[in-house]
C-alpha cells in the first residue's frame, strides 16, 4: 500500500465520518487505518461446518461449483455442460438427453430461485453463453434436472430469476446481436439487421414464455424486488460488428422491461409467433421497454437489497449510474424523461464492472483496471448529485485486490436479507499470488471482511478457470432442503431385481450395485449388439456410492445411494472386458467387478 493511498484513505474516512455525522467512526490517522483488523473468522475448524453455501459458475469448464463459505472449501462440482468422467455426466443416457450432443459450455451466472426477495431453496439457474442454453439445478440433489435451448439468441449471458413474489420467470439476455432467424440467408454481413433478445423462461416448466427483441445488444441481467421489471445493460447501441464500431457512441443504455405490459401483450396475443415462441417487439416507443441512457459501454447491473436502486457500472467510464427504480413507472407513463431516472453518477475509479451491497446503504463496486473494490454510500452519492460539493465524494473506502477483479459479491447481497459480513472479489489474474503452475494460472478469489467501516482482506483462494460470478447463501436456507438420498423410484427404470433381456440385437442388462457386488457377475453379448446397462445403487446408507467403469469402452459413471443411471453403446470390441466399481465402497471394493463377454462374430 503506497503512502499516497494511505493519505487518500485518511481523507476519505475523515470526510465521510464528519459529513454523515457518524459518531461511531471517529477520524482516524493513516497508521490506524493500516492497523484495521478483521472481526470475522473465516477459518472453519476440522469437523465444523460453514455458515454459507457459495454457488460459483465455472466459466469455460462448463460446470457449477459449490463451496462452503467462508472457508471456500469446494464441496461439489456440478457438471452442467461438460463431460465428467467421474459422475458420467455426458456419458449416461440420462445426461445425454439433456445435453443435445454438446459437452462444452460457458457458465457465467448462477442464481438461486426466490420467494419474497430471498432464496427459497428450490432451484439454481445457470446459463451457457457459448451454446445459448439455460440449465436448472435442483437444490435437493444439487444436480441438473432440466435444460433448455434458447433459440434466436447468441452470447446468452445475463440470467436472473424473478425475485418476488416467487420465481415464476427467469430472464436471459443475448449479448451478441445476431440475425433473429439465423438460417444463413440474406446479407448476413449487414449487422444493421441484427438484434438483441430478452428471453423469458417459465421456471417451473422450463419452456420459453416469450422473447422480447431489441435493436441493441443485451448484456447483464437483473430483476427488481417487486416482480415488475427486469433489466439489461446494453453496450452496443451503435449496432456495431467490430470493436471500433461498438465504442463509437458516448452513451449506451440500461434497458428496462416492464413485465405488466409484457404480460398484457402476451395475454392479448399482441405478438408474432416464430418457431412456436411468442415474439414481442421491444424497440423504443413500443411501450414494453425503457431505454435509460448511461455512459458508454456499461457492464453489470445490480439492484440494491432495499429494492430502490439499480446500479449500472460504467466499465469504459469511471462512473456508476444509480437508477431510481421507484420512478421507472413515470418513465413508462411518459411523464419524465428516461435520463431523469438516473439519480446519481458518481466517479468511483477505473473500470467499474459489478456492484454488491452490505444492506447498510453501502455499495461495493469492482474496479477492473484499478484492481480495487471501492466502497461507496448510495444515499451520499444521490445527495452529492443533487447538491455537488467541491472535493466531496461518496467513496468510503478502497481495497487493493490481486488482480483485475471481475465480479464481486457480498454474502446474501442479491436478496433483501443482505447481511454485510463477507465479500468475495473474483479476480481474473493471480500472477504472483500462488506457486507457479505453468502458463495458465489460477484465478484468485479473495475473501474480504466488510463487517466494519473499512474492508479487510482475509484470504486468497485459487480457482480453476473461470468462476465469473458467485451467490453466497445463508446455510439455513439451503441445508435442510438437500437430501442424503434420492428416492429409488424417482428413476422410472430403477432396478431392484437384476436381469438380462435380449430383443434381437439389443441387450438390456438391468443390474443392482450393492457393496461389494454387482447384481450380475457376467453378461454375454455378441459383437455388434446394442447394449444397455441400467444400474441402480441399492445401498441405502448415505454416502455409499458405487462406480461403473467398463474397461476399453470409455464408459464410466457413479451411482449414489438409490440412484439409477444407464448407458447404451455398441459392443464393437470383442473379448472379455471387466466392469469394475470405481468408487471405494467396501473392504472388498476391489473384488466388486464382473465381466462383459463380447463374442466375436
Amino acid at each position: 500500500m503506497t503512502a499516497q493511498r494511505l493519505l487518500f484513505f485518511a481523507v476519505a474516512t475523515t470526510a465521510t465520518s464528519l459529513l454523515l455525522g457518524c459518531a461511531a467512526a471517529p477520524p482516524q490517522d493513516a497508521t490506524e487505518t493500516t492497523a484495521t483488523e478483521a472481526t470475522l473468522h473465516h477459518e472453519v475448524p476440522p469437523g465444523e461446518l460453514d455458515e454459507y453455501y457459495a454457488f460459483f459458475s465455472g466459466g469455460q469448464s462448463g460446470e457449477v461449483r459449490v463451496a462452503g463459505f467462508p472457508s471456500m472449501r469446494v464441496l461439489k462440482r456440478i457438471p452442467v455442460w461438460n463431460l465428467d468422467s467421474a459422475t458420467g455426466w455426458g456419458i449416461t443416457n440420462e445426461s445425454k438427453a439433456m445435453l443435445d450432443g454438446m459437452v462444452t459450455g460457458d457458465t457465467h451466472h448462477v442464481h438461486p430461485s426466490y420467494a419474497d426477495g430471498t432464496y427459497d431453496g428450490k432451484w439454481l439457474f445457470v446459463n451457457d453463453k457459448a451454446n445459448n442454453r439455460l440449465a436448472r439445478i435442483r437444490i435437493d440433489t444439487l444436480e441438473v434436472d432440466a435444460t433448455l435451448n434458447i433459440p434466436h439468441t447468441q452470447g446468452t449471458h445475463g440470467v436472473f430469476p424473478q425475485r418476488a413474489p416467487t420465481t415464476e420467470w427467469v430472464v436471459l439476455n443475448s449479448e451478441f446481436r445476431s440475425p433473429f432467424e439465423n438460417e444463413g440467408e440474406g446479407d448476413m454481413l449487414d449487422a444493421s439487421s441484427y438484434g438483441g433478445v430478452h428471453t423469458i423462461v417459465d421456471a417451473e416448466s422450463m419452456e420459453i414464455a416469450g422473447q422480447v427483441t431489441t435493436p441493441v445488444n443485451l448484456d447483464l441481467a437483473a430483476t427488481d424486488y417487486s416482480g415488475r421489471y427486469s433489466f439489461a445493460t446494453s453496450y452496443n447501441s451503435e449496432g456495431g460488428a467490430t470493436i471500433s464500431e461498438m465504442l463509437a457512441a458516448d452513451r449506451d443504455y440500461l434497458v428496462v422491461f416492464d413485465w405488466q405490459r409484457i404480460k398484457a401483450a402476451l395475454a392479448s396475443g399482441d405478438y408474432r409467433t416464430v418457431d412456436g415462441i411468442p415474439v414481442l417487439d421491444g424497440s423504443e416507443g413500443t411501450g414494453l421497454t425503457a431505454y435509460i441512457p448511461v455512459p458508454k459501454n456499461p457492464h453489470g447491473v445490480n439492484v440494491s437489497p432495499d429494492g430502490n436502486y439499480a446500479v449500472v457500472c460504467g466499465k469504459v467510464s469511471p462512473t456508476v449510474s444509480v437508477i431510481d427504480i421507484n420512478i421507472l413507472a413515470d418513465v413508462f407513463a411518459g411523464t419524465i424523461d428516461p435520463a431523469d431516472a438516473v439519480v446519481a453518477e458518481p466517479e468511483v475509479g477505473l473500470g467499474p464492472l459489478h456492484t454488491t451491497y452490505d444492506g447498510r446503504g453501502n455499495a461495493y463496486t469492482s474496479l477492473f483496471i484499478d484492481s480495487q473494490i471501492v466502497k461507496w454510500n448510495i444515499q451520499r452519492a444521490i445527495d452529492l448529485q443533487a447538491s455537488p460539493q467541491e472535493g466531496e465524494t461518496p467513496v468510503v473506502d478502497r481495497l487493493d485486490v490481486h488482480y483485475q477483479v471481475g465480479h464481486t459479491m457480498a454474502s446474501m447481497a442479491e436478496t433483501k436479507d443482505a447481511d454485510g459480513r463477507y465479500l468475495l472479489s473474483l479476480n481474473k489474474i493471480s500472477k504472483d499470488r500462488f506457486l507457479n503452475v505453468g502458463p495458465l494460472k489460477p484465478e484468485n478469489d479473495q475473501l474480504v471482511d466488510i463487517s466494519g467501516e473499512q474492508m479487510v482482506l482475509l484470504a486468497d483462494h485459487a480457482a480453476y478457470v473461470e468462476p465469473h460470478d458467485v451467490t453466497i447463501v445463508r446455510r439455513d436456507l439451503i441445508e435442510d432442503k438437500v437430501v442424503h438420498r434420492v428416492r429409488l423410484e424417482d428413476h422410472p427404470d430403477a432396478v431392484t431385481q437384476s436381469s438380462v433381456e435380449r430383443i434381437g440385437n439389443r441387450v438390456i442388462a438391468r443390474m443392482t450395485a450393492t457393496a461389494p457386488v454387482f447384481g450380475l457377475q457376467e453378461v454375454e453379448v455378441n459383437e455388434g449388439d446394442e447394449v444397455t446397462f441400467i444400474v441402480t445403487n441399492t445401498d441405502e446408507i448415505p454416502d455409499l456410492a458405487h462406480g461403473f467403469a467398463l474397461s476399453n469402452y470409455g464408459i464410466q459413471f457413479i451411482v449414489a445411494p438409490f440412484e439409477t443411471k444407464s448407458v447404451t453403446f455398441i459392443a464393437d470390441k470383442p473379448g472379455v472386458h471387466w466392469i469394475y466399481c470405481t468408487t471405494f465402497c467396501h473392504a472388498l471394493h476391489l473384488e466388486m467387478r464382473m465381466r462383459l463377454v463380447v463374442r466375436a462374430r
Binding site: 431392484t496 450393492t514 457393496a515 457377475q521 457376467e522 453378461v523 445401498d539 441405502e540 446408507i541
Partner: protein
C-alpha cells in the same frame, strides 16, 4: 474352503443318504455355492462369510447391521408358507433367482436354471430341519381386489394400521421410527430396525400381493409377526396393503 465344507457332518450325512443324479446335483450345488454364495453365507452356511457385513441401514442416525442369512438355523424371512414353517423349494428358487431388493442378496439370473436348482438343494443341507419338518404348503393368496390403492381403501387401511399397532414399530408416518423401534433385535440378538416405508420398495416385494403375503407369513427371525390370526378379515388386510402403498409414495 472345499475341505472345510466337506468336513461338515451334515453335508457328509446328506451325501451318503443320496445316490446317483441327486448326489451329482448336490455336488454341482456345492460348486455353485462356492462360486457365488460362500463369500457372504460362509462355508458352513452360517452367514459368516468373508464379507461379514453386507447390508446396513441408517434410520435417524441409528445404524444397524444386517448379516447374511444363517442357513444352519433353518429360519427364513421371505416365504410363501405360514409363520414358523420352512419355505418351499420354489421360495428358495425365487430368492436365489431374483435376489432380495435393497439387500446384499443379488439376483442370479446369470446362473443357469439347473445350477440354481442344484444350489437350492445344497442350501438345504445346512440344517436338519429340512429332514425333520413336514412338507410345506404355500398360503393361497388371491389377486388383489381392484379397490386396493383407492382413497377409501387407503383411509380404512389407516385405521387398520392403528388397530394392529403397526405404528409402535413402524411409526405414525411409516418411517420406521415408532416408540418400540430403538431396541428391536432379531433371533440372533442383532439390532434390527423396522422398515421405513417412505424409503421406497420393500424387500419382500412391492406388489399388493407380496405385501399381503408378508402380513400373512410374518418375517421369521425378526420382530415382524404374522397377522394371519390377528387380522382375520380379508378386507382389512387389503386395506392395510393400500395404506402401506400410500406410505411408500412418501
Amino acid at each position: 474352503m472345499k475341505h472345510q465344507t466337506l468336513a461338515a457332518p451334515l453335508l457328509v450325512s446328506g451325501l451318503l443318504a443320496l445316490s446317483g443324479s441327486a448326489a451329482q446335483d448336490l455336488a454341482r450345488g456345492e460348486q455353485v455355492y462356492n462360486s457365488r454364495c460362500v463369500v457372504c453365507h460362509g462355508p458352513q452356511g452360517d452367514g459368516k462369510g468373508l464379507i461379514g457385513i453386507v447390508h446396513r441401514a441408517q434410520t435417524s442416525g441409528l445404524v444397524t447391521t444386517t448379516y447374511p442369512r444363517d442357513f444352519t438355523a433353518g429360519v427364513f424371512k421371505f416365504r410363501s408358507t405360514p409363520s414358523g414353517q420352512l419355505p418351499t423349494d420354489d421360495d428358495l428358487m425365487r430368492i436365489v433367482t431374483e435376489g432380495i431388493s435393497r439387500s446384499g442378496m443379488p439376483s442370479h439370473t446369470d446362473v443357469s436354471e439347473a445350477d440354481r436348482l442344484s444350489v437350492v438343494q445344497y442350501i438345504k443341507t445346512f440344517s436338519d430341519r429340512w429332514e425333520r419338518d413336514d412338507p410345506r404348503e404355500p398360503l393361497q393368496i388371491t389377486d388383489a381386489p381392484t379397490l386396493v390403492g383407492s382413497d377409501e381403501s387407503t383411509e380404512r387401511g389407516r385405521a387398520v394400521y392403528q388397530t394392529m399397532q403397526c405404528a409402535v414399530c413402524h411409526g405414525e408416518a411409516g418411517r420406521g421410527d415408532g416408540t418400540a423401534s430403538a431396541g428391536l433385535q432379531d433371533s440372533w440378538g442383532d439390532a434390527i430396525v423396522p422398515f421405513d416405508f417412505t424409503s421406497g420398495p420393500v424387500k419382500g416385494g412391492s406388489t399388493p400381493e407380496m405385501i399381503y403375503r408378508t402380513f400373512m407369513t410374518g418375517l421369521d427371525g425378526t420382530p415382524m409377526p404374522s397377522y394371519q390370526d390377528a387380522m382375520p378379515e380379508e378386507a382389512d388386510r387389503w386395506d392395510l396393503v393400500s395404506f402401506c402403498l400410500r406410505l411408500m409414495q412418501g
